[in-house]
C-alpha cells in the first residue's frame, strides 16, 4: 500500500511532537505503559465525533439495527473524504457527562454491533470503503446486552467482516477494550493513535483476577503489552499515528486524512478477492511462533 511510512509521518510532526509532553505530563510519575492507559482514557481526549468531523465532509448519521433499536454508543453513517464516499462507524464515549450517559460511555449493546454490520453490508453493496473508529472500555456487560446476544452479535461481526468485499481500515483512538473493540477491528489494516491502547482485558481486571489486587494495574499494564508501540512490534497493527495536544488535533487530522485517502484509494484498485484473501492472511498468521 502506498502509505506514508511511519517515519515520514513522524518527521512531519516535529513541531507537534513537543506538545506530547504536555499530554503526558500529568502522568509522568506513573510507569510508562500505565501512563498510556490513563492518556487513552483522558476526559479531554477527542472522541469519534471529533475524528469524524476532522476527517470527513458531508457526514450523515444513520440509525438503527432494523432488529431491536438504535444504540447511541455507536455513531455510524456515510460521509466523504475529499471526493471519495465512505461509510464511517465510530464508538462514541460522549463529551459532556449528560451525553456520555446517553451514549453509555461508549459501551455498546448488541444492537450497536448489528447496526455497524448493517451499514458495513451497505458499504459492501455500494463498494465504498469502511472506516471504523474504536474507542471503548469494552462491550457492555448487562442484562439486556446478554438477553439480546452480545456474544452472538460480536461473533457475527467477526465472521462477516472477515469476508466483507470492500476495503476496511480500523483506527483505535483511545481504549481498545477486548471483544467489544475487535468487533469493529477485523480490517485490512488496523491503525492506532500514539496514546491509544488495545488489550484483551483492562489492566485493572487482569490484576484483580491474577493477583487479587486491582492496585497492581501498573504491573499488569506492563505485562499485557497494550501500547501502540508494543502492538506494532508484534505485527498486530500497521500504523502508529503520532498525536498532538487535543487543542491542536486539526494537524493530526490533516495528516491522517491524507493517509486514509491514499490507503483507501490504493485498496480500491485491488481485486476484491485479493483484498479479502489478504485480510484472512493478516489474522491467520497471528500467534504462530
Amino acid at each position: 500500500m502506498a502509505n506514508l511510512s511511519l517515519n515520514s509521518v513522524k518527521e512531519s510532526y516535529a513541531s507537534v511532537k513537543e506538545s506530547m509532553k504536555e499530554i503526558m505530563q500529568p502522568y509522568a510519575e506513573k510507569v510508562q505503559p500505565y501512563a498510556r492507559v490513563l492518556a487513552a482514557r483522558a476526559k479531554n481526549r477527542p472522541t469519534s465525533q471529533s475524528f469524524i468531523a476532522g476527517l470527513t465532509e458531508d457526514f450523515l448519521e444513520f440509525h438503527g439495527d432494523r432488529r431491536f433499536g438504535d444504540d447511541a454508543a455507536i455513531i455510524a453513517g456515510v460521509a466523504r473524504i475529499n471526493d471519495m464516499p465512505i461509510t464511517v462507524i465510530g464508538i462514541e464515549k460522549g463529551i459532556t457527562l449528560q451525553e456520555s450517559i446517553k451514549r453509555n460511555f461508549g459501551a455498546a449493546h448488541p444492537e450497536g454491533y448489528r447496526k455497524a454490520l448493517r451499514l458495513m453490508k451497505q458499504a459492501e453493496k455500494f463498494h465504498r470503503p469502511v472506516l471504523c473508529i474504536v474507542d471503548t472500555s469494552g462491550a457492555y456487560c448487562g442484562i439486556g446486552a446478554e438477553e439480546r446476544g452480545q456474544g452472538q452479535a460480536i461473533a457475527e461481526n467477526l465472521m462477516e467482516m472477515m469476508t466483507l468485499k470492500t476495503p476496511v481500515i480500523s483506527l483505535l483512538i483511545g481504549e481498545g477494550g477486548s471483544g467489544g473493540a475487535l468487533a469493529l477491528a477485523v480490517a485490512d489494516q488496523v491503525w492506532m493513535m500514539e496514546n491509544s491502547i488495545y488489550s484483551v482485558i483492562s489492566p485493572e481486571g487482569c490484576a484483580s483476577i491474577l493477583w487479587k489486587d486491582s492496585q497492581k494495574m501498573q504491573e499488569a499494564a506492563e505485562h499485557l503489552k497494550l501500547t501502540a508501540q508494543d502492538l506494532f512490534d508484534m505485527g498486530v497493527v500497521e500504523q502508529i499515528i503520532p498525536e498532538s495536544s487535543p487543542k491542536e488535533f486539526s494537524k493530526v487530522y490533516a495528516v491522517l486524512k491524507t493517509m486514509l485517502y491514499d490507503s483507501f484509494q490504493s485498496a480500491m484498485q485491488k481485486p476484491v478477492d485479493e483484498l479479502v484473501a489478504n485480510r484472512y492472511q493478516r489474522f491467520r498468521q497471528m500467534g504462530i511462533q
Binding site: 446486552a145 472477515m162 477485523v186
Partner: protein
C-alpha cells in the same frame, strides 16, 4: 448481594474463574472416592454409576463436568478417532509472569498439551472433523495454540469437505497471551467463515460454562447451535454483570434454557442423547457431509 444460586456447590471449576486456580484434585464434582454428592439433587451417588451414565447424575440428570478425552470416547464410534495437531503446544509468548508454571501445571494435571483436542472421527458412521475443549486446562481459556488448532481444523475440514462438530467450554480468552489471544477470536471466525462459504456444516454444542471470547466467536457461529441442559452460556459472566450493574440477576439467567427462550440456541440436548441427535443431523445433511474419503 450476589444471588446464592450462582454460588451453590461448584458445578465446575470454571465458575470460579476469578481465582485463577484450577485443580482437578480440588474438583468437588469428581473426587477420588467411591461416592460423589450431586450438586443439583444433593444425593449421594456412586461415582462409577455417574461415569457409566456419561457423567450425568442418574437421579436428577445433572450434567457433571468431564474431560475432553472422555467426551470424545463416549461420543465417537469406537476406534474411529484420529487426533490432529497434537504436537502443537503453547509457549509464554509475552514472558508473562507465572505463565510458564501455570502451563506446566495444567499439562501435568491434564496430560494434555493444550485446552482443545482436535481430530477426525465417525459419529454414527458419518465422518466428521471434531474439536472438544477441556474445562480443566487453565479454565478452558483460548490462547494462541487453541486458536491455531481450531483454525487448522476448519481449514482441514474445508479441504476434506467434512462437517465440523465443536464442543465448547471456556472461561474466555487467555489473558497471559494478551492481545494475541484476542486475535484468535478473529482468526477462528475467519476459518469458520471459510468452511461455511464452502457449503459445509458446522454444529456447536455449548457446555457448562461457555463464556467470553469463545462465546463471542466460534461458539456462536454454528449453523446449528445445541446446548447441554443448564449450561451457563454468556459473553460476560454473572459475577462481572452483577459487579457492573449492582443488582441481582433474574433466576436462570444465562442458562441454556434462557438462551433457548431468547432465541440463541436451536435445541437443548441431554448428553446421553447427543450422539443419536448429531447422527440424525449428519444424516439429514448427508449430501454436505460425505468427506473426501480421507478417513
Amino acid at each position: 448481594m450476589l444471588e446464592k444460586r450462582f454460588f451453590r456447590k461448584p458445578k465446575n471449576e470454571l465458575e470460579h474463574a476469578g481465582n485463577g486456580q484450577s485443580s482437578r484434585q480440588n474438583q468437588p464434582s469428581v473426587p477420588d472416592d467411591l461416592y460423589v454428592s450431586c450438586p443439583e439433587c444433593k444425593q449421594s451417588i456412586l461415582k462409577a454409576d455417574m461415569e457409566e451414565n456419561g457423567f450425568v447424575c442418574p437421579k436428577c440428570s445433572h450434567h457433571f463436568s468431564m474431560t475432553a478425552r472422555r467426551r470424545i470416547q463416549i461420543l465417537t464410534d469406537a476406534g474411529s478417532f484420529n487426533e490432529l495437531f497434537s504436537d502443537l503446544s503453547p509457549t509464554n509468548l509475552l514472558d508473562f509472569p507465572g505463565y510458564d508454571e501455570k502451563l506446566r501445571k495444567a499439562q501435568a494435571e491434564s496430560g494434555e498439551q493444550e485446552g482443545v483436542i482436535c481430530g477426525t472421527a465417525q459419529i454414527g458412521g458419518y465422518p466428521v472433523a471434531l474439536f472438544v475443549m477441556d474445562p480443566g486446562f487453565i479454565l478452558g481459556s483460548m490462547g494462541t495454540i487453541v486458536g491455531e488448532k481450531i483454525t487448522r481444523l476448519f481449514e482441514y475440514a474445508a479441504a476434506q469437505k467434512l462437517p465440523v462438530i465443536g464442543y465448547t467450554v471456556s472461561g474466555g480468552a487467555r489473558m497471559q497471551e494478551g492481545i494475541l489471544s484476542l486475535m484468535q477470536m478473529a482468526k477462528t471466525s475467519g476459518a469458520v467463515k471459510l468452511h461455511s462459504d464452502a457449503g459445509l456444516l458446522y454444529i456447536t454444542v455449548l457446555t457448562n460454562p461457555t463464556t467470553g471470547g469463545v462465546t463471542a466467536s466460534f461458539a456462536m457461529e454454528g449453523d446449528i447451535i445445541l446446548a447441554e441442559p443448564k449450561a451457563l452460556v454468556a459473553f460476560a459472566g454473572p459475577r462481572v454483570i452483577e459487579q457492573t450493574i449492582r443488582q441481582k440477576l433474574p433466576s436462570g439467567f444465562q442458562r441454556a434454557e434462557f438462551l433457548l427462550e431468547k432465541g440463541f440456541v436451536d435445541a437443548i440436548v441431554h448428553r446421553n442423547d447427543q450422539k443419536s441427535y448429531l447422527t440424525t443431523i449428519l444424516k439429514l445433511h448427508q449430501k454436505h457431509c460425505e468427506g473426501k474419503g480421507a478417513m
